[in-house]
């Protein structure tokens, strides 16, 4: 529909800016545009925050909104990458075990952190959580991929079923870790299974943000190869793309960014499904257009969802995963029905 519209991306970016400003503005302590401007001026001139609004802006609202936007971009891009990789529009990190595995890895550090921390301190330092999350995410994703692949093909049904099983293992692992935790500060099972941005901090923004920036650039450079892979592995080979190597690279970079985000915000499902699905209807499947558009739309939609999570039952906060699942699950069902009818030779639209 907007396939060749050159205004599509600029309009998306403008919408994202508006959503970000709204997300910063609304909350228990409202923050106006003037607050933001004076906060930035004070920061530049080296003065401390002048009032509670400016303090809330710097310490709470801005890191939260940024972490949320970056995570949304990561999850949406990850959806596009995984769907390209499995050549299947109904795959996303929450379904194939990546997020649950990463959560398990991260929760191990939170509960047994001091012990592991001593052993690895010099090597990893503040990266202990992301490193464990990555190991867990990688293990889970690889297990799903390897188990679902029989002979040459990855069947959708076995992918989803094995995904359920591996997710269950990951989730019971995190559950067990939460149960073991004596520390009341330890993260709860709700945190891990439904996600929240309430603990966002600047250091998290920097870690997740820098990894996302690097990986987005790499992913975009593979856009052409990913397109070729849509035709099938054999066809991709004839077009000069080594499908095995491409799949390995994509699997690693994708797992890395999803795991790191999950380590800090918990498992947020269905974002990787909703965003690419809507965008494919609007601009088609060319990854060169789909990847940047997903990045921006993912950031925008997750920020909106987090705003709803904060405001709907204020002053209480709903876990964000409840909102994304509520919207995402119906879309998942639609996609599943559509995909089945294609596979059974029905006409697709």
């Amino acid at each position: 529909m907007f396939r060749n519209n050159k205004y599509f991306l600029p309009v998306l970016i403008a919408l994202l800016v508006i959503v970000l400003l709204c997300a910063i503005g609304f909350g228990a302590v409202p923050i106006t545009l003037t607050d933001i401007i004076s906060a930035v001026q004070h920061y530049i001139s080296g003065q401390p925050a002048a009032n509670i609004h400016e303090a809330v802006f710097w310490e709470l609202r801005l890191p939260r909104v940024l972490l949320c936007a970056i995570t949304g971009a990561i999850l949406a891009v990850s959806g596009v990458l995984m769907q390209g990789l499995f050549r299947n529009p109904i795959v996303e990190p929450g379904l194939v075990g990546t997020s649950a595995g990463a959560a398990f890895g991260a929760s191990i550090v939170f509960v047994m952190g001091t012990g592991i921390g001593v052993a690895f301190k010099s090597a990893t330092g503040p990266f202990l959580v992301p490193v464990f999350a990555f190991a867990g995410g990688m293990l889970a994703t690889y297990a799903v991929y390897a188990l679902a692949k029989n002979a040459k093909r990855v069947s959708t049904l076995s992918l989803l079923l094995i995904g359920i099983a591996i997710n269950a293992i990951g989730l019971s692992g995190t559950g067990f870790m939460s149960y073991l935790a004596r520390d009341p500060q330890a993260r709860s099972i709700t945190f891990w299974s439904l996600g929240t941005f309430s603990g966002a901090s600047w250091s998290q923004v920097f870690i997740v943000g820098s990894i996302a920036a690097i990986i987005f650039a790499i992913a975009l450079s593979y856009a052409k190869q990913l397109n070729a892979l849509l035709l099938g592995e054999e066809e991709a080979t004839y077009l000069g793309v080594d499908p095995k190597r491409l799949q390995q690279k994509i699997l690693v970079i994708n797992t890395a960014m999803v795991s790191v985000a999950t380590a800090f915000v918990g498992v947020i499902s269905f974002m990787g499904l909703i965003v690419p699905h809507i965008l494919r209807l609007l601009i088609g499947s060319d990854n060169k257009k789909l990847l940047p558009a997903s990045m921006i739309s993912g950031a925008m939609l997750l920020t909106l969802a987090d705003m709803m999570a904060r405001l709907l039952l204020a002053p209480a906060e709903i876990p964000i995963g409840i909102i994304t699942s509520l919207v995402g699950a119906p879309i998942f069902i639609i996609l599943l029905k559509k995909f089945n009818s294609i596979q059974q030779g029905g006409n697709s639209a």
């Binding site: 080979t237 077009l239 494919r280």
Partner: protein, 261 residues
């Protein structure tokens, strides 16, 4: 020119190909015929560089294809497979442009865009360039894939010979498009292009091919120009069918009439 020397390939204990030695001259259209399971498609996958694990040697202009990496191969040979499974919405134009992928880095050059336009015109696809590929009929999809593989080797690079391989390309085409397809192929066949197609319709093969190769149970039984080799004895040996051969009054090529007994 493409040469294969003593190509042997097995899956487990079963020998799929039993020492195929053949020469395919440039500028000619070669067609491979044979019953189902005689190893034609496997042979095509081997000389196109997709299938490894064979013994023997495949050379493009005296160069062993094992010395060419997949990017280099993609610049000079294109392959149309029996089926392409594309389950995502892409436009016809985007699919055809994929044929140019080996030739540009991120964004297509003017030359790539121009080539796509020419191929689309040639195959009379201009009216549906912006159609969603998924909504096309089987035959339309086939023509779009043909456009893609033609675009891939549309122009010669560095004076290298080009290769076009087609695995049962006529499968879902109606009579009109079968003829059009083969005529386009003949027109495309210049001196520096080697074309090899696996095909089932023997009368189309005799009408259009310069050279025929008959496969049976993994061996190359006979090859040569249609006029020289077609005989009812050969067809009965290869396909176990009874036939009468007459001269096609229009093309002057052999015309095969199959009989029920």
């Amino acid at each position: 020119m493409l040469r294969t020397e003593n190509i042997t390939y097995s899956i487990g204990r079963k020998k799929i190909l039993k020492g195929i030695t053949a020469e395919f001259e440039s500028g000619k259209l070669h067609m491979i015929l044979g019953p189902n399971g005689s190893g034609k498609s496997t042979f095509l996958k081997i000389f196109s560089g997709e299938l490894k694990g064979y013994t023997g040697k495949v050379t493009y202009q005296q160069q062993d294809i094992k010395e060419l990496n997949i990017e280099a191969l993609a610049k000079r040979r294109s392959v149309m497979s029996q089926q392409t499974e594309l389950g995502f919405p892409l436009t016809v134009e985007e699919v055809v442009m994929m044929g140019r992928y080996p030739h540009f880095v991120f964004n297509p050059t003017k030359k790539d865009v121009e080539i796509c336009r020419q191929v689309i015109d040639l195959l009379s696809l201009s009216s549906f360039t912006s159609r969603n590929y998924l909504t096309l009929s089987g035959g339309e999809k086939q023509r779009v894939q043909f456009a893609r593989v033609l675009a891939q080797i549309w122009v010669q690079n560095n004076n290298e010979t080009r290769f076009l391989f087609l695995d049962e390309p006529l499968n879902s085409l109606d009579i009109n498009y079968q003829q059009e397809f083969l005529q386009v192929l003949r027109k495309f066949g210049k001196d520096d292009v080697t074309m090899i197609a696996v095909i089932h319709d023997i009368n189309l093969a005799t009408q259009y091919a310069d050279n025929l190769l008959f496969f049976k149970e993994g061996s190359l039984v006979k090859q040569g120009a249609p006029k020289e080799i077609i005989s009812s004895g050969l067809l009965s040996d290869v396909f176990q069918v009874q036939s009468t051969i007459i001269d096609n009054p229009v093309t002057k090529q052999p015309l095969v009439i199959f009989s029920s007994q």
